[in-house]
């Protein structure tokens, strides 16, 4: 399959497909960041994570149509408003869910999987009832359209670079919050030893709630980014949830760096393979490779050395 291309062509294809994979990479990273916080740090398996993402996507869509109708002069910058709103909407829903459901299940991780699956069904049907079963798409402002001509054969889409920059910013912010701020230290203390953390005066319930909310909020931002690569439908989130879990597990559940590295390798492998074969076969080969590697290295790429 590589035979028909010269070496220079192959380089250009790799670069182009690489940049085409950027938005996919960003969605994966943002989804996986949220999941890495919820799953890697708290140990909760949130199967409804995709639905939190879709909530962000719907908020973005609503913002874009509202802005188009009532304040067209705001349209070039609507994306920033939409992202903030998406973060707030998904985050608050996440906190509500944590309060109503998740906090009763911290001792039974496998059961969180089943309960959040039930939640995802409810959310899907709620989206279908509210927004209709048809998929919706947003219009991008002019400055995000088009692409930047790097060389003769390489074009880089501008929205890809924008989302990429955004992802990097959010990643840095999240790692700052988790690893350097005092709140992040509290989160990690609660994760490592809930009882002791409570004993030294940390309000563990509050920490849990905000941690879950943060993870879901980032999923909402992922939804905003998602509106650029696909149309939003009630079940679109379900397509991504398994991939995202694989990204997190493949990277090593507790490691943010591993999550980013694995999101990068998975999305790039997939988008590069997609150039040479059908999309479904590209996906099968990517997933099979991940599963095979996970069977050889179950702790993931970047595992923290912990004593069990």
């Amino acid at each position: 399959m590589f035979g028909d291309y010269s070496l220079g062509d192959l380089g250009a294809i790799l670069a182009m497909q690489g940049f085409a994979g950027l938005i996919l990479f960003s969605v994966y990273v943002l989804m996986a960041l949220g999941l890495a916080i919820i799953f890697g740090q708290m140990g909760v398996i949130n199967m409804a994570h995709g639905e939190f993402m879709i909530l962000g996507a719907y908020v973005t869509w609503m913002t874009s149509t509202t802005v188009q109708h009532y304040a067209p002069w705001l349209f070039p910058g609507y994306f920033f408003i939409a992202m903030t709103l998406a973060f707030i909407a998904s985050g608050s829903l996440g906190m509500l869910v944590e309060w109503a459901m998740i906090r009763h299940l911290y001792r039974r991780p496998l059961d969180t999987l089943l309960a959040t699956w039930g939640l995802s069904l409810i959310l899907q049907q709620a989206y279908r009832s509210v927004f209709g079963a048809r998929e919706v798409g947003v219009e991008l402002p002019d400055w995000m359209m088009g692409s930047w001509q790097a060389t003769d054969s390489i074009q880089i889409p501008i929205n890809g670079m924008f989302v990429m920059a955004l992802t990097i910013l959010i990643t840095i912010a999240v790692s700052y919050v988790l690893f350097w701020s005092s709140w992040g230290k509290q989160v990690r203390a609660v994760v490592q030893n809930r009882v002791m953390a409570g004993a030294v005066g940390i309000n563990t319930e509050k920490v849990d709630r905000y941690t879950f909310g943060l993870g879901c909020g980032i999923a909402g931002i992922a939804g905003s980014a998602f509106t650029m690569i696909g149309s939003t439908g009630p079940t679109a989130g379900q397509l991504y949830i398994v991939d995202t879990f694989l990204v997190v597990v493949f990277g090593g559940a507790a490691s943010l760096l591993g999550t980013i590295a694995s999101a990068f390798s998975i999305s790039q492998t997939q988008s590069t393979l997609e150039f040479f074969m059908s999309g479904s076969m590209a996906k099968v080969i990517t997933l099979l490779t991940i599963v095979a590697i996970l069977m050889m290295r179950p702790q993931g790429l970047f595992a923290l050395k912990v004593r069990k």
């Binding site: 398996i45 089943l114 939640l119 409810i122 099968v284």
Partner: protein, 380 residues
């Protein structure tokens, strides 16, 4: 006498007999053939449920990929039926007569190699057992030998379900694609679409189901079943006692896979087609739901759970299609939050004590109330 043997204690015997009466007498006599066929369809999920009780309830291995094995069993059966349905006489309008119609549409001119064994019925029956068994063995050996368990196992089995679905949908010429294998007609010249055939198939299925129940009960009561429970509770202690934890897990996983495959094969016979929509992530998780609702520790619970949830699904989606997903989602959350041991837990906690009290007030000091031999209720 059965009551004195340890195979069933008294309450289990009552459960066994009442289930037999329900499935062999009450349902066939009271339902018309359309509804009976629906019950037969629901019961195919009970096979998966029984497997999940062994592997998840007793072994603590949550597999979110049982749809894979259900599908493998179903596809094996569907391939045999499809080959029989596409005889040269039936397919003479095709450009290549004698091959399944979807292969003809996809420009294949010969039946591919891996379809060849399915010309023979004995090989097909063998394949229904062996293909999922070997597949489960490979997955299980690769994971459990490396001590992958719990959440990671659940996610990886889910990924495998996703992979198989994408593969089946993508390789349309070999598998029938998204439509699956349809238009199945006869089994050895015996038309499986008639009402009479459906009636007979129902009884075949119920007999097989009871075979599975007895096999599961047997596994549960032997030393193996107790090691499974011990493993679920304290895996390291079992390992330090000298047992190979991985091998027991592989066995439980393979047994669950084979049960699921039998269910899948019966599904193809009852419903008359097989498609990737019974293989993927969503059906796999739904199968776990049935088991959880029935009670993950109870073999009979799994059967009742499959029947009730599917019955509710049909009723609700017939009359309130909007509400069905709300209902299913809510049911699932409620079961997990409030009743972790499902319907059988409610029965054992609330109904059984009253019945016992009612009986013992009439007949005090009954000798049969000794607790069950390997009652694996999880330690609180």
């Amino acid at each position: 006498m059965i009551i004195n043997s340890r195979f069933f204690n008294r309450s289990e015997l009552i459960g066994f007999v009442s289930l037999a009466v329900l499935l062999f007498l009450i349902l066939p006599l009271s339902l018309d053939i359309f509804r009976l066929n629906l019950v037969a369809k629901y019961l195919t999920y009970a096979f998966v449920g029984i497997g999940l009780v062994l592997c998840w309830g007793y072994g603590g291995i949550l597999s979110l990929g049982q749809g894979v094995f259900f599908g493998l069993g179903g596809y094996c059966m569907a391939m045999f039926l499809k080959l029989e349905a596409s005889s040269v006489a039936n397919t003479k309008i095709q450009s290549t007569p004698g091959i399944p119609d979807f292969m003809d549409w996809n420009q294949l001119t010969a039946v591919p190699m891996f379809w060849k064994p399915f010309y023979s019925f004995p090989l097909t029956v063998l394949a229904i057992i062996i293909v999922p068994g070997i597949f489960a063995f490979i997955i299980g050996a690769a994971m459990f030998k490396r001590r992958v368990g719990g959440v990671y196992f659940a996610i990886i089995t889910q990924a495998i379900a996703a992979i198989l679905t994408i593969l089946i949908v993508g390789q349309q010429g070999y598998t029938g694609g998204i439509n699956g294998i349809t238009d199945l007609r006869t089994l050895y010249g015996w038309d499986i679409r008639t009402d009479h055939a459906k009636f007979i198939l129902y009884f075949v299925e119920v007999v097989l189901l009871f075979g599975c129940i007895i096999a599961a009960q047997f596994i549960r009561l032997t030393k193996l079943g107790r090691i499974l429970v011990a493993m679920r509770e304290q895996e390291d202690r079992v390992r330090f006692s000298g047992y190979s934890v991985a091998n027991f897990k592989i066995f439980a996983f393979c047994a669950a896979a084979i049960f699921a495959a039998v269910g899948g094969a019966m599904f193809t016979l009852e419903v008359g087609f097989m498609s990737p929509s019974f293989v993927g992530i969503v059906p796999s998780i739904e199968m776990v739901i049935y088991t959880a609702v029935g009670g993950r520790m109870s073999i009979f619970g799994a059967v009742y759970g499959s029947l009730l949830v599917n019955f509710a699904k049909t009723m609700l989606s017939e009359s309130f299609p909007q509400l069905w997903l709300f209902g299913l989602g809510g049911l699932f959350i409620a079961v997990v939050l409030a009743f972790p041991s499902g319907l059988s837990g409610i029965w054992a906690d609330y109904v059984q004590p009253r019945i016992d009290r009612l009986l013992s007030s009439r007949k005090p000091k009954a000798a049969w109330t000794e607790s069950s031999v390997a009652d694996g209720a999880p330690a609180e």
